[in-house]
């Protein structure tokens, strides 16, 4: 069966520090991968999506970047965090069906 792992679960980082959030999927190949951000009590904003290794598309301009070094690995990064980068980050994957499967999320607090 397919599983998705996202870590860490929580992270507190100072302004200006770098960021690296990792997401891996098991049990499937060539998944579509997504990074979403969710502000408190709000909906999900799509940040990045990828349909294959090295193929990244960005939905909104921001201080973040994403990479897909392996088929089932999706990384969200920043060189210098801003206070406004705080939020709940969710990784998700989908396959041949439109249904998406989500990781448990990372709560990032930039202080």
């Amino acid at each position: 069966s397919q599983t998705i792992h996202q870590w860490p679960a929580t992270l507190v980082q100072p302004v200006g520090s770098p960021l690296s959030l990792e997401c891996t999927v098991e049990g499937t190949s060539n998944p579509n991968l997504y990074w979403y951000r969710q502000a408190a009590g709000r909906g999900l904003q799509l940040l990045f999506y990828s349909v294959g290794i090295g193929q990244i598309s960005s939905e909104v301009p921001q201080n973040l970047s994403a990479s897909r070094p392996q088929d089932r690995q999706f990384i969200l990064s920043s060189k210098k965090l801003l206070l406004s980068d705080s939020g709940f980050y969710l990784c998700a994957w989908s396959g041949t069906t439109p249904k998406a499967f989500f990781g448990q999320g990372t709560r990032l607090t930039v202080v």
Binding site: G43, L44, K99, A100
Partner: protein
């Protein structure tokens, strides 16, 4: 921009009552999905309804879709305290980059025991 918008934003009911949440969207869709999110967790897929379907059932869940009004509703019957969560509708934007889900702002449901 958000494709789907749910209303109400928050709903509080007693256990045993029915809960109805609505979703409106703006563009043509191939399907519409509903997801549930427990506080501080990831989203879990509940049900998918295709654009050529008008109603779909899954257990205590009933989803309707009106493509002429660009709206959908999720009904949870005989609610339980464990149904307390946020519920989101999502539409699929098909493009060359795969099936991209766009979510609404969600309805926060509280079921009081």
């Amino acid at each position: 921009s958000q494709q789907g918008e749910e209303d109400p934003q928050a709903l509080s009911i007693q256990e045993g009552e029915n809960a109805t949440m609505n979703c409106s969207y703006k563009t043509s869709i191939n399907n519409l999905q509903w997801y549930r999110q427990n506080s501080g967790r990831g989203l879990v897929h509940l049900i998918l309804i295709r654009s050529n379907e008008r109603e779909k059932h899954s257990g205590r869940l009933r989803v309707t879709l009106d493509t002429s009004k660009k709206s959908s509703s999720l009904l949870i019957t005989a609610s339980r305290a464990a149904d307390t969560a946020s519920y989101f509708c999502a539409t699929v934007r098909n493009n060359n980059a795969g099936n991209m889900l766009t979510f609404g702002g969600g309805t926060r449901l509280m079921v009081k025991p």
